[in-house]
Amino acid sequence: MNVLPHPNSYRTGPDEHGHFGIYGGRFVAETLMPLILDLEKAYADARADPRFRKEMDSHLATYVGRPSPLYFAERLTGHCGGAKIYFKREELNHTGAHKVNNVLGQIMLALRMGKTRIIAETGAGMHGVATATLCAKFGLPCIVYMGAVDVERQKPNVLRMKMLGAEVRAVESGSRTLKDAMNEALRDWVTNVAETFYCIGTVAGPHPYPAMVRDFQSIIGEETREQMLAAEGRLPDSLVACIGGGSNAMGLFYPFLDDRAIEIYGVEAAGLGLATGKHAASIAGGRPGVLHGNRTYLLMNEDGQIEEAHSISAGLDYPGIGPEHAWLNDLGRVKFLSATDDEAVAAFALCSKLEGIIPALEPAHALARAIDIARQKPKDHLMVVNLSGRGDKDLATVADYLQRCT
């Protein structure tokens, strides 16, 4: 890894071409390029419009249920015997995850642009559910692309999306998971350019998506900042979040990037273990390449062919990572760790029993590493873990897993 000189601020990216250092960019087919330029302009206009922010804040308060609480996890803290662990309770948002923060912003932008049809890709189904939910609220038709493998392992979310009026299209191409769902959504977009808005669920894709999704998710970190000041009279000492594409992590991290004393940890999915090659840790096991409109760390073979990711968590089962994370990794500002399927399931069970909170398998990866780190910290160390989603969707997966292992 090349460690680059530290910039004056970590919050200046991307540049006008959508680059975070060498990462990011706009690697898309010409058909999409004019749309992406339109989107960039429309987003800049919306961002500068106080009415847009005001309307969004109103929906966030009355529909999403924000602010989400910052909760002191007292028994988990006692169990670890070190740092004071707080959870940012994103799982209490309407639809049960952080995804809704971003989708609300994008759907409002789609309406502002006069788009009449929404498409989305989804892995675990949480982004799909959030998109289906807001399309129902705003009366827009919604098509969600989901890998056939994920349709099978995340059935409750498929049912939720259908109940909300969305059409779920099972993707049978390639490895039939999240990356293929994204390919299929891009193919739909390129075919239905005029009326369609592509609502991307993470901080990846061509510029301006990584920055736009980060901005919409930054409310997580902004609230955390205020809430921690209110609770403890100071900022936290460390932040921990799981990373697939990395939107919940980016949302928590971004407002704290320039508070350099704060340790920031991103936790990737190590699947069956990094050494087995069956994982989804693109920073730990990948290298820079170009996919889905951006340059970032990717899992691939020596010929540049994208490899299938593996994780028990469908939401982390993606062979790439948002370009801003790639940049923050190279700068050394965010430290990237990983947790295996086994470790995530153990943390899932522990959190459920100690705190009465069933986390999604995605943040269970963050919890697994948070527990280790907390043990090594003094009792006055303040740690925030982003509890990015609730685990109802994963009960069948975890039950199967535990049965196989006993």
Binding site: G25, A29, T31, M33, G174, N183
Partner: protein
């Protein structure tokens, strides 16, 4: 002057449109793929596009996606694709070869090394779907410096304001994507396409080749009346698929299946302007 420039100049002298054929490198296997390439010029192909397989071809429809996966499963990679080009070139000095695909395999191979090796293999031009003008510094400019053509796609969404940027560093020819969509998609409305080609010609003197959704001699001929060339891809790789045995292996019919469709398409394209004049 590249072989591409020379070929379009020759077509102009002959007063006819050209046929550009796309097949996937290594589909269904390396040897059969080499034999298909060898058969194309005689069957009537004027320019040969060789697809560089990629796991995630986001602008391609099911036919070309499947062709790429067949090739990858049979062990194709970029090194072998360059070998195919070199083999073809050793027997045919005139027919232009264009490599078409996505950026990541080239980026991983290394841009500088790739351009040296592609040129040495007798490649004449590149089409890289996910590199719009906004990313010209990546590969387009180095390609032009290396003396190869970089052929850009123009699409129905490329309006008059944007066309100059798209055409600025394009050379060899302009590839007009006749529909908003993926390869092998809906058939284009030929009247609309002919008008679109006229619009592009107001901005450039380069030849225009039209592709996406052209699958038979009739549609090829209709488009050939208004453009310098017609590109056919999905229909050819479908011929490969349909010729395979139950295990997905090549059969004695594979090469002939592709060549015979190329011959039909070539006849359509060659007669198009003659018919139009009658």
């Amino acid at each position: 002057m590249t072989r591409i420039d020379a070929r379009f100049a020759a077509l102009k002298r002959e007063g006819r449109a050209g046929l550009v054929t796309f097949v996937m490198a290594g589909d269904p296997d390396h040897e059969t793929s080499a034999a298909i390439l060898k058969a194309l010029p005689e069957a009537g192909a004027d320019v040969i596009e060789i697809g560089m397989p990629f796991t995630d071809p986001m602008a391609d429809g099911p036919a070309i996606q499947a062709a790429g996966l067949r090739a990858l499963r049979a062990g194709q990679n970029l090194v072998k694709t360059l070998e195919l080009a070199r083999d073809f070139r050793s027997a045919d000095q005139a027919t232009p070869i264009v490599l078409m695909g996505y950026y990541n395999p080239i980026y991983i191979y290394g841009v500088a090394r790739f351009l040296v090796d592609a040129k040495a293999a007798g490649v004449d031009g590149l089409i890289v779907v996910d590199l719009p003008p906004e990313e010209d510094a990546e590969l387009c400019l180095p390609t032009l410096q290396a003396g190869l053509n970089f052929i850009r796609l123009a699409t129905p969404t490329t309006d008059d304001r944007r066309l100059p940027a798209v055409l600025a560093n394009t050379s060899g020819f302009v590839y007009y994507v006749s529909i908003t969509g993926i390869t092998g998609g809906a058939a284009p409305d030929t009247g609309v396409v002919v008008e679109a080609v006229r619009r592009i010609k107001r901005h450039t003197g380069l030849p225009v080749a039209v592709g996406f959704g052209v699958r038979d001699a009739g549609s090829a001929a209709a488009i050939a009346r208004g453009a310098e060339a017609v590109v056919v891809g999905s229909a050819l790789v479908e011929k490969v698929r349909l010729s395979l045995d139950a295990a997905g292996k090549a059969t004695p019919a594979t090469v002939a299946a592709v060549a015979s469709l190329v011959a039909e398409l070539a006849a359509g394209v060659r007669n198009a302007r003659q018919q139009a004049a009658e």
